[in-house]
Amino acid sequence: MTNGLLRKVYSLPSEPLAVEFRDVSYLASGRPILNHLSFQVPAGQTLILLGRSGSGKTTALRLINGLLMPSSGQVLVGGRPVSEWDLIDLRRKTGYVIQESGLFPHFTVERNVGLVPSLLKWAAPEQGARVRELLDQIGLPHAEFGRRRPGELSGGQRQRVGVARALAARPGLMLLDEPFGALDPVTRLELQRQLLDLRERELITSVFVTHDVREALKLGTVIGLLNRGELEFFGSPAEFQESEGDEARRFLEVLK
């Protein structure tokens, strides 16, 4: 009885988690990587952190799940400073997708996707159901792909599995670091559409790092433009397209 109740509670979607940067700076061996960033991402929004290589966008992303800690200022997730979260707990509530997928090569697709639910000790039937549901949604049906190893998948398939793994435990927040950066344009478009679909189904806040302005405009509800560690622009995609900032215009130039 209690068990059944608990199981239900596990599978409820988490509340989407808001993200806030309060005057955040980050120094790496004395060199400033991020300079006094302040911004807010309301729960349920998708922030695109846009910038060139070396602009500090990946660093900003890693501050959100505590892979890095700010040199000064505060990062808040769900209204609570990251420094006050139990990091293991925060990370289990935060999906994370990176360019090289980072799937465990010795785990099957099924076990990879089910990893965080298993860390959270979800009951086996529920884990299985969730894994099946996600694999169906990303177009890699369980019967065919569940028992394969990541090494037996194409790059695009691996990235899809990476996204499914990040979503498995119904996180309130998802962090994506150029997840589609290494894919061919066609697969990339497919995965972008799929991500939009998934976003509608799963109530979730996302922070998505990219250097691709088209991707930013397509996926973002909010865009933050980073230039050498400074936040040059922060606002809606429509506002971004009207932006007069130097770096913003350089990025918009790409669209012409």
Binding site: N65, R91, Y96, L103, L115, L119
Partner: protein
């Protein structure tokens, strides 16, 4: 041709030989695998750890057996031999375990942390399984060398197949030398095959 009693001796000395190697390997693995795990967490110390094991390896084996004799509680015999063999076996296991663990793909390690795995979970579910092949290769290399080196143990009265070899040398008796050398070589080949098989099974 084969002197009377040699076959009985052969069985006994082979067992003695195996026993020394087996205990030494267990001890070496028990020290070197956890040691390498610790070293993998402290890159700055890991150079020192490896350096120390490297130095042990460069001490000529006969000298190492000799050095240990004056140490209290060891003296002449099996205990000293086992300690010396253990010290010798440390380096290959230590080095291979370190390579296996630190060789885990950076993206895999990063995702493991980012998904909220604890350091213990990362060790048992990611680092050790992915490093297993390298670790086992280290154990295999160490075992094969130790079987050879253990023949020298007879020089300090520890027994084993080296007894035949040393006696054969003293008596200019080739048959006795071969009676020690051939079984030792076969034992090494067999161990290599067996552990190689385990290694392939794991991969």
């Amino acid at each position: 041709m084969i002197p009377h009693g040699m076959l009985e001796d052969l069985g006994e000395l082979s067992l003695e030989h195996l026993e020394m190697v087996f205990i030494a390997m267990l001890a070496a693995a028990a020290i070197a695998i956890p040691g390498a795990i610790l070293l993998s967490r402290k890159p700055r110390i890991s150079r020192w750890g490896l350096g120390f094991a490297n130095i042990l390896q460069t001490v000529p084996s006969l000298a190492l057996f000799g050095f240990l004799i004056p140490i209290p509680f060891l003296g002449v015999g099996k205990a000293t031999a086992v300690v010396a063999l253990t010290l010798y076996a440390l380096l290959p296991i230590l080095r291979n375990t370190l390579v296996g663990i630190t060789g885990v793909d950076a993206a895999v390690r990063e995702s493991a942390v980012a998904m909220g795995m604890t350091p213990g979970q990362i060790l048992w579910q990611v680092e050790l399984p992915l490093g297993a092949k390298a670790i086992l290769a280290g154990v295999r290399i160490a075992t094969v060398t130790t079987i050879g080196t253990a023949t020298i143990a007879a020089a300090i009265g520890a027994g084993g197949l080296g007894v035949f070899i040393f006696r054969g040398i003293a008596e200019f008796d080739t048959v006795q030398i071969l009676a020690g050398a051939i079984p030792a070589a076969l034992m090494a080949l067999l161990a290599d095959e067996l552990l190689g098989w385990v290694e392939r099974r794991v991969a």
